[in-house]
């Protein structure tokens, strides 16, 4: 490095933007095969029931129906749809507790049966003809209630519905001693919500067995290779008998880190002997698929007189829903983030994963970190108030320094927390605006929250590969097994390849989405894509450049180490008139019949040796209407240390998008479940309200660049970062405005009015 960069750091068009802008991009939901059948799901209308009988005979007789499947047609094998057990070094944490189709209903929306028919209309008609006799059982929906003795048991093995109790891996010191040292101690229970991913493309999968029995699957998976292995184990197939393809994907945010439609779709295609496309309606997507991890956290913080944190404690009840999925991993991340944002010698955290008869929680953008910060960053403000210290000062007292450890357990190479905090405070006008301007019924306030996330996960296979080859015109095919769900990983690794090779962005032709023609990639999660695949690309492109230079050196009668390449032209250092085009060298490698035909191709493999976290702070200015309780976010400032922005426009849009999901999480996205029936009431975009254009505040995104030596060109991962601090920053701003603290998400007008009422009564 050190040299001037020509493609990295530049705003170039995103991958596939042209196809997406013209409507030419094909998504899974657009995909068709000849003879393809339409698949539809039958889900449970009751929250908890034994299935006494399923009669499919009438459905099977309906003309056009090709297959009806129930629990009898799927592998008699418990599994966990989350892929983490395929990549973890110690997979014992994620419990297998689910069948592809169930013989017992554990929530409204549990998968009971499925149909494949010549078209969707016939399939839907057939669903109505399936007769299921349910023996309803008492159900429990509240995670705190569920672990009391005498409650209905949801899984036989889980006494008091506790699936697993596990401590935080970062527990340290002695919290009792720590709290004794503290000048102030604050304890508070916080509840986070089951945010729904709301990816715009409805969940869809296509499965097709060929005449030899080989399965090709087109799905929205974020982990094609891990899911291929998982599917092979589930259906007792050799991995090589499965080809996993991905098309354009309309968002995911962790939903497709689990199987969603795949196992049912495969079982349907197997029985029907024809390709099947299983498509979920939006209502089914809300009801049946995984949501964000949701936690009830009793957090406790001890702060010494000088403002340093002496102890942190967090007792977590995981609102996991009816099946386990990501409960172990997402909660471990939550506890790890709670333990590691600030310097603190004494930490104790423990979690109970509790079953209830509600839809399943999984892992969503931020994966445990947003609920953890919802608690921690409010505790910080509460402690600051009790101590009589400015909340900004309290944070500055406790930020981590170089050499201390981040959540992924690697020593921090840089520490930019203080810079991010000060910069953001200045941009929002924290000092001037604090304390609540008043205007009629409106009160205004400002608040902040800090964050640190990861650039990949730990304790797991993070293996990544790319391969590259030159065509005779100097273009390069870059093949990678990663998945682009809209985050532009394909574009940013193309920039990295072009920069490393000294050619242009448009010279890179990317090939992805096929397990047959790309090397293993562990998939998209934990903001690890750019950091890890970017590093694999640097390695592969550097190797390819070496081969290019070796051949060019022969042609130029020079030494490879004396060569330089820039904008498709290879020159000899110190001899400006001596040079050859990249294209001519690439052509020579293929068409020079006298020579050794050593094709210019290389592979880059990477497994993380490090993981530098994105860090920063967000600041919110809000207006609260004291009559209606409505919160209006006026301005958001997000300062994020991104290492280096490979494509600043892409980074900015990741942070803006994360912020919008954070605003929804904070204020409007309410996954309301009927407390009597367990029925999800928010199963559409009207009742489950995600932000629209008019809900977005003025946003100021500051990309703070301090490159790290282990990132590709210094970059860190930023996919999840901005989602993490928004809700607590808004909550702290609301407190600044009206003096009440809403501790359970989302912060609705009703809760604000109720809290204000309670406060008035106290006075």
């Amino acid at each position: 490095m050190g040299e001037e960069l020509t493609i990295v750091g530049k705003k170039v068009p995103r991958w596939a933007a042209f196809e997406k802008a013209t409507g030419a991009a094909r998504f899974t939901v657009d995909f068709k095969l000849p003879e393809m059948l339409a698949g539809r799901l039958l889900t449970s209308p009751v929250a908890h029931a034994n299935i006494l009988k399923i009669d499919t005979s009438r459905a099977e007789k309906l003309p056009g129906v090709e297959a009806v499947i129930t629990f009898e047609d799927v592998p008699n094998k418990l599994f966990n749809p989350n892929k983490m057990d395929m990549c973890l070094f110690d997979p014992s944490g994620e419990l297998p507790d689910m069948y592809v189709l169930s013989d017992k209903a554990r929530f409204v929306g549990d998968k009971i049966a499925a149909v494949a028919a010549i078209n969707a209309g016939v399939a839907e008609e057939a669903l109505v003809l399936i007769e299921v006799e349910y023996e309803e059982l008492p159900a429990v929906f509240d995670s705190l209630e569920a672990s009391n003795p005498g409650q209905p048991r949801i899984h036989d093995f889980a006494k008091n519905n506790i699936a697993l109790t596990f401590p935080c891996l970062a527990n340290r010191g002695d919290v009792e001693e720590g709290f004794k040292e503290a000048h102030v101690v604050v304890e508070q229970t916080f509840k986070s919500s089951k945010q729904h991913m709301c990816q715009m493309e409805p969940t869809t999968c296509v499965a097709d067995f060929d005449a030899s029995g080989r399965l090709t699957i087109w799905s929205m998976s974020q982990h094609p290779f891990l899911h291929r292995r998982k599917l092979a184990e589930l259906f007792d197939m050799p991995v090589g008998m499965i080809r996993w393809k991905t098309l354009h994907i309309g968002g995911g945010w962790g939903k497709y880190g689990s199987f969603v439609a795949e196992p049912v779709c495969v079982a349907l295609a197997k029985k029907a002997g024809r390709p099947v496309k299983l498509e979920y309606s939006r209502e089914e997507d809300f009801r049946t698929t995984e949501t964000r991890e949701a936690h009830i956290m009793t957090g406790k913080i001890g702060v010494r007189k000088d403002g340093t944190i002496s102890a942190l404690q967090n007792k977590v009840v995981v609102q996991g829903g009816a099946y386990f999925t990501h409960n172990s991993n997402a909660t471990n991340v939550a506890m790890g983030c709670f333990a590691s944002l600030y310097t603190c010698p004494n930490v104790y955290e423990i979690a109970d994963a509790v079953y209830t008869n509600i839809p399943v929680s999984g892992g969503c953008r931020g994966y445990g970190n947003p609920p953890a910060m919802w608690a921690l960053e409010q505790l910080m403000d509460m402690a600051a108030e009790k101590l009589g210290m400015d909340p900004l000062e309290l944070r500055l007292k406790n930020t981590k320094k170089v050499g201390e450890f981040g959540p992924a357990n690697y020593a921090l190479e840089t520490s930019t927390f203080d810079d991010c905090l000060r910069l953001g405070a200045e941009k929002i006008g924290l000092k001037e605006k604090r304390g609540g301007r008043r205007e009629g019924t409106k009160r205004y306030g400002v608040g902040m929250a800090m964050f640190m996330h990861v650039s990949g996960s730990i304790g797991a296979t993070q293996h990544r590969n790319v391969h590259l080859k030159f065509n005779e015109d100097g273009t390069v095919n870059l093949a990678a097994g990663c998945v682009d769900l809209g985050q532009n990983i394909h574009g940013t690794i193309s920039q990295i390849a072009a920069e490393t090779l000294g050619i242009r962005y448009e010279d890179i032709i990317i090939h992805t989405g096929d397990t047959d023609t790309t090397f293993f990639d562990q998939g998209m999660h934990a903001s690890g894509g750019l950091f890890q695949i970017g590093n694999a690309t640097v390695k592969g492109a550097t190797e390819l450049k070496k081969l290019l230079f070796e051949r060019a050196a022969k042609m130029l009668e020079a030494h490879p180490e004396d060569l330089d390449v820039k904008d498709r032209w290879i020159s000899v250092k110190g001899s400006p008139d001596k040079g050859v085009s990249v294209a001519d060298v690439a052509k020579d490698a293929i068409y020079n019949y006298e020579d050794d035909h050593n094709h210019l191709a290389a592979k880059g493999s990477y497994s993380p040796e490090d993981n530098q976290p994105p860090v920063g702070a967000s600041f919110a200015e809000v207006g609260v209407d004291t009559e209606s309780g409505e919160v209006n976010v006026i301005k958001l400032v997000i300062v994020c240390d991104v290492g280096r922005a490979i494509n600043p426009q892409t980074v900015e849009s990741q942070l803006e998008g994360g912020a919008s999901q954070g605003i929804g999480y904070a204020l409007t996205e309410d996954y309301t479940i009927n407390p009597e029936t367990g029925y999800l009431e928010a199963d559409n975009y009207i009742t489950y309200k995600i932000p629209g254009a008019a809900d977005m505040p003025d946003m100021e995104i500051i990309q703070y660049e301090k490159p790290v030596s282990t990132g590709p060109f210094g970059a860190k991962g930023v996919g999840e970062a901005a989602m993490v601090p928004i809700a607590p920053a808004i909550a702290n701003a609301v407190y600044d405005a009206v003096g009440v603290r809403v501790t359970d998400l989302p912060i609705t007008p009703e809760k604000i009015l109720k809290s204000m009422e309670a406060k008035r009564e106290k006075i």
Binding site: A21, F27, G251, R282, G657, A693
Partner: protein
């Protein structure tokens, strides 16, 4: 199901199609004609992804029966780019990074066309209100609004299109 032969003008081309009475316009476009640029994210008219123009007016194709728009002039996302190149709205969306996963993009672009045909020089607030019914989960709308304002400017310079 009752079937009828109906005529449409779709993307400036004449069609004569056999249409079942319960088929929506989105189904007709996507399944019968393989014009899959038009997307359905919710299927019930809540998200705007399926927006097409019918006689120039933005319409939710998932909630419109095909037979009800017979004889009409229907424009989908596939109509905007020509041999001469991209429509200025498409170009502006690409330039401003207004596209992430791209699933809401066709509906968003068609809504923008309707908005700018009606109001060639909108304010930022008018843009935000104009696309108020089109949901996007990726972008936070900032770059979409930037793109629309830039498109308005470039179309204004070109004298409209």
């Amino acid at each position: 199901m009752k079937k009828e032969i109906a005529k449409f003008t779709i993307n400036d081309r004449p069609y004569e199609l056999l249409v079942e009475s319960n088929v929506t316009l989105a189904e007709l476009l996507r399944e019968q004609l393989d014009l899959t640029g038009t997307k359905c994210a919710c299927g019930v008219g809540e998200c705007g992804s399926c927006t097409v123009l019918i006689d120039g007016k933005p319409t939710l194709s998932c909630s419109t029966l095909a037979i009800a728009v017979r004889e009409k002039d229907i424009l989908t996302i596939e109509s905007l780019a020509t041999r001469e190149g991209l429509h200025p709205i498409q170009q502006a969306f690409i330039d401003h990074g207004a596209i992430q996963c791209g699933f809401c993009t066709p509906g968003m672009i068609m809504m923008t066309k309707a908005l700018l045909d009606e109001n060639p020089d909108p304010t930022e607030q008018e843009v935000k209100e104009g696309i108020g019914g089109n949901l996007c989960r990726c972008t936070g709308y900032v770059k979409i609004v930037d793109g629309i304002l830039a498109a308005a400017e470039s179309m204004g310079k070109e004298g409209g299109r």
